[in-house]
Amino acid sequence: MSFDAEKEISRLWGNLHNAQDEIGRTWHRWRQAALEIAGSNAKSLDVSLKAAEITGKEIGKSFLPRLNWLRGEEVWMMSLANGYAGQWIAQGGVVKVEKGQKPFEVFVKWERCPWPTFAKEYGVSMEEDVLCCDRILQTVLVNINVFFNVNYKIETLKAIPRGQGVCLRRLYKA
């Protein structure tokens, strides 16, 4: 049976990118719907941050079955950081995880991220885009910290929408 690998893979690649685009657009369509329902008194940033919070908590819950303490805290922490990265890679980002110099510190670096492009397309401010990402990343930790009885935090050091070239976040044990 003949098999054209180029055709198969490139079609799959095309479909993946279309699906990734739909993820971004769906977020903004829902945002628009929420704002219309909320009325003119609602602040768009408040609405978006609420959505980000719900999203973050949901992502955090989905991490729980996959995080495993058996191989020690450092491995657990790297696995958490890779979970963050994987989430954005699935959406079309190029994200790398690097261990920090201090113990229980890891850096997650977004070299490319599709979200600022979607924000621009839908007329959303770049700062709202950064703050929403921050809120998602932080609220991911809410359930994880309680579940594993730890206190991890994540902070933003650089952000693409702020014109800093990459998004750089530090995940650390507080």
Partner: protein, 662 residues
Amino acid sequence: MAKLLFEWNYSSYPGAKKYPHLFKPIQIGNLIIPNRIKYAATEDNLNSRDGFVTDADVAYIRERAKGVVGGICTMQGVYMDKNRQGQGYVGQAAAWDDKFVPGLKRLADAIHDERAVAGYQLMHCGRVGAVEVQYCQGPSAVPQRLRIFRPVQEMTKEDIKQCVKEHVDAARRGLEAGFDIIEISGIVGYLLSNFISSYSNRRTDEYGGDIRERMRVVVEIIQEVKKICGKDVPLGIRLCAEELLDDVRGNTSEESMMSYKIAEEAGIDYISVTAGWQESIVPVISRDVPMGSWIHLAKRAKEHVNVPIQMAYRLFRPDLPNKAIGDGHLDMWEMCRPMIADPLMPKKVLEGREEDIRHCVACNLCLARLFRDAPMTCYINPVCAHESDPRYANPEPPEEKKKVMIVGAGPAGLECAYMAARRGHEVLVYEKRTDLGGTILEASKAPYGDDELLTCIRYQSAQCEKAGVTFHMGTEVTEALIKEELPDCVVLATGPIYSKGKGAGFDRENVVDVLDVLRGKAKVGEKVVVWGNRKPGIGVALHLAKQGKKVTIVGKDKSAGFDVNPSFKWRYMIYLRQNGVMAYNDCEIEEIKEGEVLVRSYDGYRWPVRCDTVVVTEREANNSLKDVIQREGIELFVIGDALVPRNLSSAVHDGYRIGIRI
């Protein structure tokens, strides 16, 4: 009795003998125009954001007025409403208040200073408007096809009445400013064309329905403006002869011709023929459309109406309109882009200096800039929009005459050479090849009109010859040669280096250079991968696809044609599809193997692409000789692709800027 504003006698000029139909008078309304040449209204985004005319725009229009040698020079269309929904361009001139009259008068005076006929255009931009506000206006709220334009609000009858009044008031201001001709714009997606078109006019009141009803507002405007124009000031209109909107059920050709008849019945004195809308998907004015392609529309218009017919649209060479006028298919030759590229084009035609014409290459960069709120610029004419800046327009001779060595006779080197020589430097151009033109010689072999790029080289060669530039062809510049010549200044215009990718296998025999492919020197198999998705990659891909080869482009940029302006890029995307060229953008070649290459996407996925030959089109800066020159303490400039690989425009602009600076 018809009125002649300025006497012109062309009889002693060679151009008038060569193109007799272009330089004979014509009567429009009660006005005699000495020739058949018109600079058609063109937005330039040079005015202030609140619509006041600037020095830059006056200087811009003065140059074009000089160019029409007694013909009509039309200023850009003015918007007429205080709420700015009619404004389609950030730097568009306004005429919604008497406070704008002094600025408009400056334009009319500048045109009259050059003894040309001053044209004034009324242009409500309709569904292309509202550049500074949230909603634009139209007869019906038909959604926009292009994201770049604002959502449309349907006009009420009161809005329509107000719009008619605004046309009349703005026309009065034009007359007060001293303009000789008034023109109404009803084309390409602007308001009146929105009313005329069955695509954008879905109204059920008296302003919608059949073509007569859709023309109602146009007729009202013509009749009301005509009243204030009187007998002495002709009133013209620009109307689409073909909307090219069949895919969205726009007007038929018959309806368009009917609109011409109705305009004539309403009292119009001339019609300017156009084709296409900004929303149409048919190419009209880019260089992939052969010159003279639209003359049949003027001919058709002549068959339907008796008023004079004017037309622009790919009439870039004087022989085309000269013949069309002689054949009775056209009455006046309009120009926009040819006179953006060379404001003095018709003057040079008249004076028999056609070799001095800097020809437009129909790239539409000018339009792309306007739609992106940037001031007008020209791909090929570095002085465009800098007419008011003497450093650009009339550079001074240098304080010290220098011996300037220019390495490379491509567009950057040649542009620099003649400008530097014109200012008084001794200029020596060294070129290792035997022909002038650099990589444009190869680039011009790409299909879809790229042969027109050579006009730039012809112009530059002629200017170099006139400026006394010395050429050393077939001479490669070496360290020894530089030390022997000991110039005061060296300009490196050597073009780029074609760079192989980081992947394995780029040293294989089946990896060839784009220039060798276009020269016909490289052996190219049936399955080709082109490495690089910018213009050189697209050009060679189409060149090879036209030979029946299966071509795949692999490139690092997120989209193919990143370096091509958006007003032209969409054409290439269509041609790539039509010719079966697959483009993998945002990708690298990871490995070149026997019979295939391995492509790797930015997100890490890999797949094989069958391939016999890889054509390298990726470029990088060329730093050869730089160290030698700097070591010798010689003044050094690096220009064009040798500095940063870009395009013909950057080469020309770099060359000019350094040519006026040395």
